[in-house]
């Protein structure tokens, strides 16, 4: 179990993590979500004792990481930043880590088998593909059979097979009762992987709730309706307690040549809209329930806290006065 209390990290004037508090429970995959630069990696590095907090604390099973005896037997971490020497073989990388924890050499070969790197274990890691490096990182994280796992953007840059592998692995480990915290800026990845979400933006906590709840808290459900009789239907739906906005997102399956007006309805379910239209003999060309996605919920949550989004307009033009500095 991971406990973060009022954690703050400043780099000079910049606040990377801002009074963050949350706890991560065992037995489920907890997604750690936020836009780029939100402070996810820094928070993980603070939990792991690689960075020192400006104030506040982080603990694992009630202890700071640095005071764990044989920490790799309690916590496994896969960091986003590279943490292997390219001139060393995978086997030697795992071996020196195993030796620090007093683990037997046989454990290294066991892990190489688990991640499927046995055949290339004698190769220097600089020749590894991204997927192979990631597997080595997973092997290092699982080396001590830890109860707690922290994975920083584990699927970044992986091919679909690799993504599936990591996803299944995380679910499998959470199923064994382990505590799994996985960071990502990919909302859809988290939607299918995480049971619980911790969302941060600009170092601050934005949400800490089950994934389904975060989705539901988003923009809610709407229905996309296409009808030649828009005015009459709008009036009837409004009478039924719904609200109607003309226009809508071009969804899949809609005919681009169809110039029939589009309405976006909220507050009335699709079935009820169908009944209203049928009883008034209104022709419908389309009736599509629009599910709020985690992406919508995420964008709504983080719209104020994008680290880089608002900067685009601020990029100064290069000086053109020809002066030489």
């Amino acid at each position: 179990m991971i406990e973060v209390k009022d954690l703050t990290k400043r780099f000079g004037n910049k606040v990377a993590v801002d009074h963050l508090s949350f706890s991560v429970q065992p037995g489920r995959v907890t997604g750690f979500l936020g836009p780029n630069g939100a402070g996810k990696s820094t928070t993980m590095r603070l939990i792991l004792g690689l960075d020192h907090p400006t104030s506040g604390s982080a603990s694992i099973f009630g202890k700071p990481y640095a005071s764990l005896a044989n920490p790799l037997l309690t916590v496994g971490a896969l960091l986003e930043a590279k943490s292997v020497h390219g001139g060393r073989t995978a086997r030697n990388h795992l071996l020196f880590l195993a030796q620090t924890q007093g683990l037997p050499k046989s454990r290294v070969d066991e892990m190489l088998d688990v991640v499927g790197l046995r055949d290339v274990a004698g190769k220097r890691t600089r020749s590894y593909s991204l997927g192979m490096s990631q597997r080595l990182g997973v092997a290092a994280a699982l080396l001590g059979d830890p109860q707690v796992l922290l994975l920083d953007e584990p699927v970044n840059g992986l091919d679909p097979e690799g993504v599936l592998w990591i996803r299944n692995l995380m679910k499998h480990l959470a199923g064994q009762g382990k505590t799994v915290l996985v960071s990502s800026h990919l909302m859809n990845e988290m939607a299918v992987t995480a049971d619980h979400l911790i969302v941060i933006g600009r170092g601050r906590l934005l949400a800490n709730a089950p994934t389904a709840e975060v989705v539901a808290r988003g923009s809610g459900q709407s229905v996309r309706v296409r009808t030649p009789d828009a005015d009459r239907l709008t009036a009837l739906i409004t009478d039924a307690g719904g609200s109607v906005v003309p226009g809508g997102n071009g969804g899949l399956g809609s005919d681009p040549d169809d110039k029939t007006p589009v309405l976006t309805v909220t507050g009335v379910p699709a079935a009820r809209i169908g009944q209203i239209a049928a009883s008034a003999a209104i022709v419908l060309h389309e009736l599509t329930p629009q599910l709020a996605t985690l992406e919508d919920a995420f964008l709504e949550l983080t719209s104020d806290s994008l680290e880089f989004g608002h900067r685009i307009a601020d990029v100064p033009a290069p000086a053109t006065d020809g002066s030489v500095r």
């Binding site: 590095r45 792991l48 004792g49 690689l50 960075d51 020192h52 990481y65 640095a66 764990l68 005896a69 044989n70 920490p71 790799l72 037997l73 309690t74 916590v75 971490a77 960091l79 930043a81 590279k82 943490s83 292997v84 020497h85 390219g86 001139g87 060393r88 073989t89 030697n92 990388h93 071996l95 020196f96 880590l97 030796q99 620090t100 924890q101 007093g102 683990l103 037997p104 454990r107 066991e110 088998d113 688990v114 991640v115 499927g116 790197l117 997927g131 192979m132 597997r135 290092a140 699982l142 080396l143 001590g144 059979d145 097979e161 599936l164 592998w165 299944n168 692995l169 499998h172 480990l173």
Partner: protein, 283 residues
């Protein structure tokens, strides 16, 4: 590398939390680290070749051109202190290769990023640095003594036709053992610089500056007691006394072992500051 592996059982590890792995495990781990990168082999190979090679070359040049033009002064020095001919240039250049290894042992962890894995495994940090120092000192210490004696035997054999020198002569055994000790400790000195600077190129440049540039600059300083004392306590100048039998320069203000002690203090100082910063800094 099939997907079916994804849910392969991860067998429990043999050891359990609570019983911390001992310092012996850390020594084993650092030994694995240092032996598993090619830069160790390269730098140690270069060290052996350069040191013994220059001991042979300089003694051969000296013996072959005995009482040649302008050589009277050098010949007198060879007779007074044969070790200065055998070890002078050899150790001076040999220390460069060990400086590179000393820096790489720590700075390459930062440049490659493996420092993160290392510190996750040993979050108290200082035991890792201490294990590094021990492993480097033992590995390089043994090799440097072998190279020092090898250089002496090769050099004295070549010099034999002009000057007879043996390990039983006064001060010679001390100078030979001293050459190995000096080389080892200077490698650790470079490791201290690497711990402080953390960048390979910057740390190597600094070590080279201390070993090569400071001695040249110190030769330009006025020959007064103040400057001689200042220069005499510099790491390279003080430390190098231990592999010379009797240097007769007014810049010498220490005995051989005192000088070696001063180099050891410099090295300890750098490693202590480096260790303090290693604990304090974000990795």
């Amino acid at each position: 590398m099939s997907v079916t592996r994804a849910t392969a059982e991860v067998a429990p590890a043999a050891a359990r939390p609570g019983r911390p792995a001992g310092f012996g495990h850390l020594l084993l781990s650092e030994w694995t680290k240092i032996r598993s990168v090619r830069s160790t082999t390269w730098t140690l190979f270069a060290f052996v070749i350069v040191t013994i090679g220059f001991a042979a070359l300089i003694t051969w040049v000296t013996a072959a051109n005995w009482t040649g033009p302008h050589a009277a002064e050098r010949d007198a020095r060879a007779i007074a202190d044969p070790t200065s001919i055998i070890f002078g240039v050899a150790v001076y250049l040999g220390q460069l290769t060990l400086s590179v290894l000393g820096v790489l042992v720590i700075a390459a962890e930062y440049s490659s990023g493996v420092i993160r894995a290392s510190l996750l495994a040993v979050p108290k940090r200082l035991p890792m640095l201490l294990a590094k120092v021990f492993v480097f000192a033992i590995l390089v210490g043994i090799l440097a003594e072998i190279v020092a004696f090898g250089s002496f035997f090769v050099g004295s054999a070549i010099l034999h036709t002009r000057v007879s020198v043996s390990l039983s002569d006064p001060g010679i055994l001390r100078a030979t053992i001293g050459a190995g000790l000096y080389l080892t400790v200077f490698g650790l000195f470079a490791m201290g610089i690497g711990t402080l600077i953390r960048h390979t190129a910057g740390a190597i440049s600094t070590a080279v500056g201390v070993a090569f540039v400071l001695p040249i600059l110190s030769g330009l300083l006025p020959d007064t007691s103040f400057w001689n004392h200042l220069v005499g306590y510099l790491p390279e100048q003080a430390g190098s006394l231990v592999y010379l039998v009797h240097e007769t320069s007014s810049q010498i203000v220490l005995s051989a072992w005192q000088g070696f002690g001063v180099l050891c203090l410099w090295t300890a100082l750098l490693l202590v500051i480096g260790g303090y910063l290693l604990r304090r800094r974000d990795a």
